[in-house]
C-alpha cells in the first residue's frame, strides 16, 4: 500500500512542527524519516498513524483519503520507542491482543489465534517467550515482541517510532539488520523514525531527511549520502570539514588546491564553502605541492580506523581525518609531527555563511 502525504501542516501552540509536507512513499518500501529532535519526524509518523490530527492536508493510502478515518480503522501497525507492551499481560496475550479485541463476528477462533501468535513469535525468533511477562525480557526482545504484536492484525502499513532508540549499541546494530531481513521477507510498506544517520543509511530503501518541520532531501541512501542537497544534509549525514573555497568555471579552489566541481561549469567566480568528509582527505608525511601543512594534534586508533585531529597553524582550523590503520602505519607519523593534507573530493555550496 502506497502512502501519499499532501500539504500536511501541524502546530502545537506557537511551535510549528510541520510546514507543508508533501511526500510519496511507494508500496512495499522501507522508508526512514531521519532528522534531529524537534524536526517533526515523529509528529509526521503519528499523523500517518492517526494518533495525531494534522491542522491541514491529506493522508492517502493507495490514493484513498484516510485523513478522517479513526486510528483503529486505518490498518496501521505502530511500534513505540519504549515498546508500550502491556506489562500485566504475557507475551502471548500481548501479541494476541489485537485479535482478541475484535468484535465477535470478526474474531478468529481461539485455536486460530494461538496458531497465528505462535507463527509470529517464530517470525521474530522468540517462540520460547510466549508465557513470560515483558518485564522478564531484554530491551531488544521486547521490541521484537512489540513488532510481532503490531503485525498480528496484518497491517497494511507498519510505522516504527525510533524503534531502536532505547537499546544499547550492540543490540541496536543486530536488530536493525534483523529488521531489514524481516522487511525483505514480509514486504509491508514501512516507515521508521530515527535520528541516527547510520541506522537510516543501513536499513532503509529510502531516506527522508527532515529539519525544522520541513523535508530537506529524499532519495535512496546512496544518493542522499553522495549528493547532499544542502549543507544541513551534508552535516547531518556524517562528520565534515568546512573550508573556504572559490568557485569558477567548473573548478573549486581550497587555498591552492584545485578540485573539480562540474555542477558549477558555467559559474563566474564566487565564494563558497567546501564540504570535505574526514575519509576524503589524503595524508602525507612529506611536503606536497599546494598541500595544507598541519600539525597532528591527536591520534586516536579506533579498531581498524585511525582518526586524526590536525591543526592548520596558519588559520587555526582543526581538520578531522579518517584513514585505515594499515595506511596510517606506512606513514610512520607520531603525535605533534608535521603532515600535509590534500582533499580528494569536495562538495561546494555557494555563499559565505556557514
Amino acid at each position: 500500500m502506497s502512502i501519499g502525504i499532501e500539504r500536511i501542516r501541524k502546530s502545537f501552540g506557537s511551535f510549528v512542527a510541520l510546514q507543508d509536507i508533501n511526500l510519496q512513499l511507494p508500496s512495499g518500501e522501507l522508508t526512514a524519516l531521519l532528522g534531529p529532535s524537534g524536526s517533526g519526524k515523529t509528529t509526521l509518523l503519528r499523523i500517518i498513524a492517526g494518533l495525531e490530527q494534522a491542522d491541514s492536508g491529506l493522508i492517502r493510502f493507495n490514493d484513498e483519503d484516510i485523513s478522517q478515518r479513526h486510528v483503529a480503522e486505518r490498518g496501521v501497525g505502530f511500534v513505540f520507542q519504549h515498546y508500550a507492551l502491556f506489562k500485566h499481560m504475557t507475551v502471548f496475550e500481548n501479541v494476541a491482543y489485537g485479535l482478541t479485541v475484535k468484535p465477535k463476528k470478526y474474531r478468529p477462533a481461539n485455536a486460530e489465534i494461538a496458531k497465528k501468535v505462535h507463527n509470529l513469535l517464530e517470525l521474530v525468533q522468540l517462540g520460547w517467550t510466549a508465557d513470560r511477562y515483558p518485564a522478564q525480557l531484554s530491551g531488544g526482545q521486547r521490541q521484537r515482541i512489540a513488532l510481532a504484536r503490531a503485525l498480528a492484525v496484518e497491517p497494511k502499513v507498519l510505522l516504527l517510532d525510533e524503534p531502536f532508540g532505547a537499546l544499547d549499541a550492540k543490540v541496536r546494530a543486530e536488530l536493525r539488520r534483523w529488521l531489514r531481513r524481516l522487511h525483505d521477507e514480509i514486504h509491508v510498506t514501512s516507515v521508521f523514525v530515527t535520528h541516527d544517520q547510520e541506522e537510516a543509511l543501513e536499513v532503509a530503501d529510502r531516506i527522508v531527511v527532515m529539519n525544522k518541520g520541513r523535508i530537506e532531501q529524499q532519495g535512496t541512501p546512496e544518493h542522499v549520502y553522495d549528493n547532499p542537497a544542502n549543507p544541513f544534509v551534508y552535516e547531518f549525514l556524517g562528520n565534515v570539514n568546512l573550508f573556504h573555497a572559490r568557485v569558477k568555471q567548473g573548478q573549486s579552489q581550497i587555498g591552492n588546491i584545485a578540485l573539480a566541481s562540474p555542477e558549477y561549469n558555467n559559474q563566474d567566480e564566487q565564494q563558497g564553502l567546501a564540504y570535505v568528509r574526514p575519509h576524503e582527505i589524503d595524508v602525507f608525511s612529506a611536503p606536497q605541492a599546494d598541500a595544507i601543512k598541519v600539525k597532528l594534534d591527536l591520534i586516536t586508533i579506533v579498531g581498524p580506523v585511525v582518526r586524526l585531529e590536525a591543526l592548520d597553524e596558519s588559520t587555526g582550523q582543526l581538520i578531522h581525518i579518517e584513514l585505515p590503520k594499515e595506511q596510517f602505519k606506512t606513514l610512520q607519523l607520531q603525535q605533534a609531527d608535521t603532515a600535509w593534507l590534500l582533499p580528494r573530493y569536495s562538495k561546494v555550496f555557494l555563499g559565505e555563511g556557514i
Binding site: E52, Q53, A54
Partner: protein, 278 residues
C-alpha cells in the same frame, strides 16, 4: 479541534470532561455560590460588624497563633522524622514510618478525645506537666497540641520523597570535600528540600486553621480565650444566625483559598515535588 486536545485518539474525552465538570460544579462550585449569595444579602456595615466583632477577632488570633506555632513545630519535627526515616536504618523504622500516617487515618474526634484525656490534670501527661504548673487541656496550648497532632504527616510526607530521591551521595561528596555536618546540611541538603519543606509547612498551617474535631475536645472553648474560628461559625449556626455564620465563614474560606493558590504556586514552580503530595 486537534490543537485543542492533542491526545485525541484515546476514548472518553466527552464523557470524562462532562462528568468532571458536572461533579466539580455540583459538589464544589455550587455550594460556594450558596455562601456568596448569603453573604451578598448583608450590607457592608453589617458584614464588617460581624467579622470584626471583638469575640470573633479574638478567635482569629487564637486560631492563627496556634496554627502558626503548630506548623512551625511540625516543620522541625517533620524534617527530623523525614531525615531519620530516609537516612538511618534502625529497629522499628518501618513501624515508625507507618505511624506517621496515623493522624490522617485516625478520626479527628478520636484524636481530640484522647489528647484531652492525656493532658487532663489527672491524665498520663497532665499529672507530670502539673508539677511544672503547665496546663494544656482547656488552654491555648491544648489547641496547639491538637493542631500539631492532626497535621503531623504533611511535612514528613512532602520532604521524605525528596530526601529519598536526593540520596546520601551528595552528603558524602560534601563530607569528602571537608564540610562539617552542619555545613553539609545548610549548603547541600537544605536548598534541595526547601520547596518541599515550605509546601509541607503551608499545608500543615492550612489544615490547622480549619481544624475543628480535635480542637474542640481539648480547647475547653472558653469565649475570648480558647475559641477557634471554626467554633465561632458553629456557635453562630446554633444561634440560627446563618448570615453571621456565612460572613465569618467567608473570611475563613478566603484565607484558605489564598493559601491553596500559594501552595499550588509553590508546587508548580517545583514540579519535582508534586508527586509527593498525598
Amino acid at each position: 479541534m486537534s490543537a485543542w486536545r492533542s491526545k485525541s485518539v484515546l476514548p472518553g474525552f466527552t464523557i470524562s470532561l462532562g462528568s468532571s465538570l458536572f461533579f466539580i460544579g455540583l459538589v464544589i462550585l455550587l455550594p460556594l455560590t450558596g455562601l456568596v449569595i448569603q453573604v451578598a444579602e448583608l450590607s457592608w456595615q453589617d458584614y464588617w460588624a460581624i467579622i470584626s466583632d471583638p469575640r470573633v477577632v479574638a478567635s482569629y488570633k487564637v486560631t492563627a497563633s496556634a496554627a502558626l506555632v503548630a506548623s512551625i513545630f511540625n516543620l522541625f519535627f517533620g524534617l527530623l522524622m523525614a531525615w531519620i526515616l530516609t537516612r538511618y536504618r534502625f529497629p522499628g523504622r518501618v513501624l515508625l514510618d507507618g505511624l506517621m500516617d496515623l493522624p490522617f487515618a485516625l478520626p479527628t474526634a478520636v484524636a481530640g478525645l484522647t489528647l484531652a484525656a492525656l493532658f487532663a490534670t489527672q491524665g498520663w501527661f497532665g499529672q507530670y506537666l502539673a508539677l511544672w504548673d503547665i496546663k494544656v487541656s482547656y488552654t491555648w496550648l491544648g489547641i496547639v497540641v491538637a493542631m500539631v497532632f492532626t497535621s503531623v504527616p504533611f511535612v514528613v510526607r512532602t520532604v521524605q520523597p525528596v530526601l529519598e530521591e536526593f540520596g546520601p551521595e551528595y552528603e558524602e561528596a560534601s563530607a569528602t570535600l571537608g564540610a562539617s555536618p552542619w555545613q553539609t546540611f545548610w549548603h547541600v541538603i537544605f536548598p534541595e528540600i526547601k520547596p518541599a519543606l515550605l509546601m509541607g509547612t503551608a499545608l500543615s498551617f492550612t489544615r490547622s486553621l480549619g481544624e475543628f474535631g480535635a480542637v474542640i475536645f481539648i480547647a475547653g472553648n472558653i469565649p475570648w480565650q480558647t475559641e477557634v474560628t471554626s467554633l465561632m461559625i458553629f456557635i453562630r449556626l446554633q444561634e440560627f444566625d446563618y448570615a453571621a455564620a456565612a460572613a465569618i465563614a467567608s473570611v475563613v474560606l478566603l484565607v484558605s483559598l489564598i493559601l491553596l493558590f500559594v501552595i499550588n504556586g509553590i508546587q508548580q514552580r517545583y514540579q519535582h515535588i508534586s508527586g509527593a503530595l498525598k
